[in-house]
């Protein structure tokens, strides 16, 4: 268990699976599915072992090829990376198991192996981007992530998918270029691409080249803002997340946008450092965008009729919460931000997967047509209700705890007026989530009577949904399970 090569094994497993799938395309779907399940389970177990290792023995660094970090690539496996890697692998394991039956309905048969190749490459790049300590390596992984996430949106060859994916790709490319330019500016000042070495060099260079670093910071923030769908730059998100096939939506909303936020956090806190950032006033700036995003995301969601679009806009609002936590620039702010990353991944996956199950079963996407569906698909709508009530902030589900912690972080940072914004956004969330639940359980549908039936959805779709909902409730009652790890993870950003 204290094998330090576990992260590399994890990456190798993910990449290897992605490469082997096209070779296996001739075999039946069942064998391929079993193989994929094993692969992702092994990946999840490896990541859990890594986390346990780090929690017991402390952080370690991994130098590729035994090259010295100033010119080689280094991976830093500390509590933060290990915890987030566990999140990525476990959530994607559940979503992939869900997707086996779902993609048969949504995609054409011959593209399904390609779909899984893209997903595994995407996972590979997500894990890589979380673990890496090298700026350019992070850029490379980010590009892979960008391309593969566009791929899983456009894999359904409909017109709206292609347009959404094209928009995502172009905006993503602008974002990537922006980040590359920022990294180049930083390299200009420090001469090193490694994050820990750059930190010391930048602290020294700040007094000599302040403008350089500020321009770099500007480009990097804008680039990550586009890719992480921070409010004014979020315009690609509703189309991409609502038209994509359901497992892709769950992965995109739940994980991909968060990985970009991790990149931003790493650069802000580990490369440039909290001192310089507070001097310039970046946290305040980020907070303004976050607040506007929290409110406007929900305002836009109220007017939507398609259920996946509502969930996509809701993601924009929730990313506002996460950015708010970062913008407070305190330890409790960052820890609540990471806590909300985990909670939102769970809740949004539950919501997307259950919406996908409804679409799988009945083909209905418009919320006005969902009357009485709670009786036809009780388990699915229960999972949806758990996710929705968590978004609103009902105690007992983990969304409440993240609002609770966020309120305390806001008060500790001395900005009590933001409490009103959190209150308002919770209420706005209620306005568009409650009607869906009420329609599902309490209105009569036109074609059938409201008698309780069993879900017709296949078990391989129901069980992951149930597990995710169960985890939501478990962490709602016992949030210390995650918060303990996250608080240790946050210290790695402040104690350099």
């Amino acid at each position: 268990m204290s094998n330090i090569h576990m992260p590399v094994y994890l990456l190798v497993v993910l990449l290897g699976t992605a490469l082997v799938i096209p070779l296996m395309a001739k075999m039946t779907n069942r064998i391929v599915n079993i193989f994929l399940t094993y692969a992702i389970m092994i990946a999840a177990i490896l990541s859990v072992f890594t986390l346990v290792n780090v929690l017991l023995n402390g952080a370690f660094t991994y130098h590729f090829g035994l090259w010295h970090p100033s010119y080689g690539i280094e991976f830093v496996v500390d509590e933060f990376s290990a915890a987030m890697t566990v999140l990525v692998t476990v959530m994607s394991a559940l979503v992939i198991i869900y997707s086996f039956k779902d993609v048969e309905h949504e995609l054409e048969g011959h593209v399904i192996p390609g779909y899984y190749t893209l997903i595994f490459l995407m996972l590979f790049s997500m894990v890589g981007m979380t673990l890496t300590n090298d700026l350019f390596n992070m850029y490379v992984f980010m590009e892979i992530l960008s391309l593969t996430s566009c791929g899983i949106v456009s894999i359904k060859r409909k017109r709206e998918n292609l347009m959404a994916s094209l928009k995502y790709l172009m905006l993503g490319a602008i974002g990537s270029i922006s980040i590359l330019l920022g990294i180049a500016f930083l390299y200009m000042v420090t001469g090193s691409l490694n994050m820990t070495i750059s930190y010391d060099l930048i602290q020294n260079a700040w007094s000599i080249y302040p403008r350089n670093i500020l321009v770099a910071l500007g480009f990097i923030l804008t680039g990550f803002g586009i890719k992480a769908a921070v409010f004014p730059l979020h315009t690609w998100l509703p189309d991409a997340h609502s038209t994509a096939p359901t497992p892709s939506s769950a992965l995109l909303s739940g994980l991909v946008v968060k990985i970009y936020i991790f990149g931003a956090i790493k650069i802000l806190f580990r490369v440039i450092g909290i001192n310089i950032i507070s001097e310039v006033g970046i946290p305040l700036f980020i907070t303004y965008f976050a607040i506007i995003g929290m409110i406007m995301g929900s305002v836009f969601a109220i007017g939507q009729k398609d259920i996946k679009r509502i969930l996509a806009y809701s993601s924009v609002a929730q990313i506002g919460y996460i950015i708010l936590g970062i913008g407070l620039a305190t330890e409790s702010g960052l820890s609540v931000s990471l806590f909300h990353v985990v909670t939102h991944a769970l809740m949004k996956s539950a919501l997307f997967l259950s919406a996908g199950a409804v679409i799988y079963q009945t083909g209905k996407r418009n919320v006005n047509e969902l009357n009485g569906i709670g009786y036809q698909m009780p388990v699915t709508m229960t999972v949806f209700s758990v996710g929705a009530l968590g978004m609103i902030g009902i105690p007992g589900i983990n969304g409440f705890m993240s609002k609770w912690y966020l309120s305390f972080a806001v008060l500790e940072a001395g900005r009590p007026l933001i409490l009103l914004v959190i209150l308002l956004s919770s209420f706005l969330n209620a306005i568009y989530y409650l009607p869906i639940i009420i329609n599902a359980f309490l209105r009569e549908s036109k074609d059938r009577e409201n008698i309780l039936e069993r879900d017709q959805v296949p078990k391989s779709m129901l069980i992951p949904m149930g597990i995710i909902a169960g985890l939501c409730i478990l962490f709602g009652f016992f949030p210390q399970l995650i918060m303990g790890v996250i608080e240790r993870a946050v210290l790695t950003f402040f104690n350099i």
């Binding site: 804008t222 730059l233 836009f300 105690p395 309120s407 209150l423 009607p435 009420i438």
Partner: protein, 692 residues
């Protein structure tokens, strides 16, 4: 519509085709037998409980009977000394609910039996808690949940609410069986009724505000499903109103709780006046948030609008519970906050003029006036209604105004506020009983005649003599006739408001005048109900309504009526045994309690005489109204609160949201890339501004 009492159909084809309209055949199915048995056991237990309670605290003539029963009680020691009784009391209904829903799919009779049995079991657990509570309260905790743990504490104040809840739920469960024959989706109803019961018990037994908040939200959501049960469009609208306001109230309490925890580092209900007084304007914000949050639940003006919508559409057992108990939880929350957060601890103050009482005093003024206005508006609106349930709903608002006024008086008078405290709690208990009974009566009328408009009824006392009799008892209770329970609580509340203007600001004299007028209005309204529904000429179509199928309902109503009369004849019992120990837990002047509250003579001349003008006023308003046909007037539309305040807000929010979405979002989403590029350039420009 399913005909009432599906059992009748099954029983009609009985063994060997014998005619089955004898009453004993109907009664002999096992649900009824078990209910009768449980009812009789309950009566005996309550009687024994009363005797034991008296026996514990007094020696003398009652001591011997009480003594022997105490010996019996002591035999039950293992049960009564079980440390986890509160947790058990909360979890039995929460587990019983899904169990009932599960059984209900297979056998409806067994399910109804389980419902009554689980409430009966919970009631026994509640009774068993008394010895420990009287000794000093029970505490339980579930550690680790939410990071702070769940904490329960049953002191005398909680115990009063818990036992009221237990009795009420038991009676309503017995009642619900026959009423619900008329509704569909019965499993769902009983499931959520049990979950609401668990939620209510959890809320009142909570010892810190986070636990209370958890169960409060649970209760709001499960009672929503009781309100929207019918699934008719009106029910859905009323339910929407209820749940949005419920969620809003919960959020207000949440923000208040977070501010409180952050500023004083306390979540539990301890005396916090010293810490709060150091906070400046923040203390008023926290108090205001709590008042709004609990006030929405309690039906305080101007947040009461969900009440008159929710009651007519909910099935009658749900209305009885909603009016009987759930709105009291709002008042209970307010009372808890008043007696713990606003109150300094006893050793820190020097008397009733200590400046630490400032917060309590200021909030008290606000709460008293809100209570008085609520009372007045409630009665005023009630007099205009023809729908019986809506009238009772407005009366609930009015009576909650009494309770809130009592809480306000307790808060305002501070150290000497024990009278207001006692009045509020006493009226909570009494209102629970008589309002539930009134709703049950209306429910029986509805089951028999399918008519809810009182102007279309009449002369029903011949067909339903027992129902008319209990309705009379309940009406006398609510109006405050001496000998029935309302008299005791209304006179205490009257004393409280008189004290407010004696010891406090003289403007409360007007509050007292409004109090008297409102009591008169209540009298008038119930004369109206009783005369229109039961007296007078019976319309044609109601001449031959069926007389059977409501044995259980009558039994439940009878139980509540017995309680009303019992409390009415011996009002000192509840006062001495329950309310005064509850008040002693808080910082109230013990000398004041001893002088005015202990062994209070309820039937003194002054109070009895004070009821006379009330009744005369009521009869006067009724006769005037009938003569000049005033009851058909309705308030002009522009004065209706909902119209001027809530509808515009709602419409505007939706309009702005749609408009903004339309204009900005869809346009930018479908535009060309150069618009995105412009947004990006703008952001970069923003950042570049920092370079200066």
């Amino acid at each position: 519509m399913v005909p009432s009492g599906s059992k009748e159909d099954r029983n009609k084809t009985g063994k060997q085709g014998k005619p089955l309209n004898k009453w004993y055949y109907r009664v002999l199915n096992y649900f009824c037998i078990s209910c009768i048995i449980m009812f009789i056991i309950t009566l005996l237990l309550v009687g024994a409980f009363v005797a034991v309670v008296i026996g514990r605290t007094s020696d003398g003539a009652n001591g011997n009977i009480g003594g022997s029963l105490t010996v019996l009680y002591n035999l039950l020691d293992p049960l009564t000394n079980y440390a986890y009784l509160p947790l058990l009391a909360v979890f039995v209904p929460l587990i019983g609910g899904p169990l009932e829903a599960f059984i209900g799919k297979r056998n409806e009779g067994l399910r109804d039996f389980t419902v009554v049995f689980s409430t009966f079991g919970t009631f026994i657990i509640i009774l068993a808690m008394f010895p420990q509570v009287a000794d000093g309260g029970i505490t339980n905790s579930i550690p680790g949940v939410f990071g702070y743990g769940l904490h329960f504490k049953v002191d005398m104040l909680s115990y009063i609410m818990v036992s009221t809840a237990g009795v009420l739920w038991l009676m309503v469960s017995i009642y619900a069986h026959e009423y619900m024959g008329m509704e569909h989706h019965r499993d769902r109803f009983y499931l959520f009724m049990s979950i609401t019961f668990g939620g209510v018990l959890g809320t009142v037994m909570a010892s810190d505000i986070l636990t209370m908040f958890l169960f409060f939200e649970l209760m709001t959501f499960s009672s929503y499903l009781l309100v929207a049960h019918n699934q008719s469009p009106d029910s859905i609208l009323a339910g929407n109103n209820y749940i949005y306001m419920g969620v809003g109230g919960g959020l207000a309490v949440l923000v208040g709780m977070i501010l409180l925890l952050f500023n004083t580092n306390h979540l539990d209900f301890v005396f916090l006046a010293t810490e709060l007084s150091e906070l400046g304007w923040m203390q008023y914000l926290i108090s205001g948030l709590f008042i709004i949050g609990f006030g929405i639940k309690a039906g305080m003006l101007p947040l009461h609008i969900w009440l008159p919508k929710a009651h007519p559409v909910a099935p009658t057992p749900a209305s009885a519970l909603l009016s009987g108990l759930l709105i009291k939880i709002g008042a209970y929350g307010l009372l808890r906050v008043t007696t713990s957060f606003y109150m300094p601890s006893a050793d820190l103050i020097s008397g009733k003029t200590d400046p630490l009482w400032a917060l309590s005093k200021n909030m008290g003024i606000v709460v008293i006036w809100i209570g008085v206005i609520t009372m007045a508006v409630g009665v005023f609106m009630a007099l205009q209604q023809s729908n019986m349930k809506k009238m009772l709903a407005y009366h609930s608002i009015s009576q909650m105004g009494y309770i809130v006024m009592g809480i306000g008086a307790a808060s305002y008078l501070g150290y000497i506020g024990a009278m207001g405290f006692a009045g509020a709690i006493y009226h909570t208990i009494n209102h629970a009983f008589f309002k539930a009974l009134l709703f049950m009566v209306v429910g029986v009328i509805y089951v028999k005649t399918h008519e809810i408009d009182m102007y279309k009824l009449g002369g029903l006392w011949r067909q339903m003599p027992f129902t008319a009799f209990v309705c009379l008892i309940a009406a006398l209770g609510i109006t405050g006739m001496p000998g029935f329970n309302g008299f005791a609580s209304k006179s205490i509340l009257h004393h409280a408001i008189v004290e407010s203007y004696e010891y406090g600001h003289p403007s409360f004299r007007y509050a007292e005048i409004i109090f008297t007028i409102v009591s008169g209005g209540t009298v008038c309204s119930f004369i109206k109900l009783f005369s229109y529904a039961f007296l007078g000429k019976c319309p044609e179509k109601f001449q031959n309504i069926s007389k059977d199928g409501n044995g259980m309902m009558q039994m439940a109503m009878g139980g509540l009526a017995l309680l009303i009369i019992g409390i009415g004849l011996a009002p000192g019992f509840i006062m001495d045994q329950f309310i005064i120990p509850a008040a002693s837990n808080f910082t109230y002047d013990p000398y004041f309690i001893k002088k005015y509250l202990v062994d209070m003579n309820f039937f003194n001349q002054k109070d009895l005489l004070a009821m006379v003008p009330v009744y005369i006023l009521g009869i006067g308003i009724f006769l005037t109204g009938k003569k000049f046909d005033l009851f058909h007037l309705h308030m002009p539309r522009w004065m209706d609160f909902e119209f001027i305040l809530y509808k515009p807000i709602y419409k505007n929010v939706m309009r702005i949201s749609q408009g903004v979405t339309e204009r900005y979002e869809t346009r930018t989403n479908n535009a060309d890339v150069y618009i995105y590029a412009m947004i990006l350039v703008a952001s970069l420009f923003f950042l570049a501004a920092y370079l200066r």
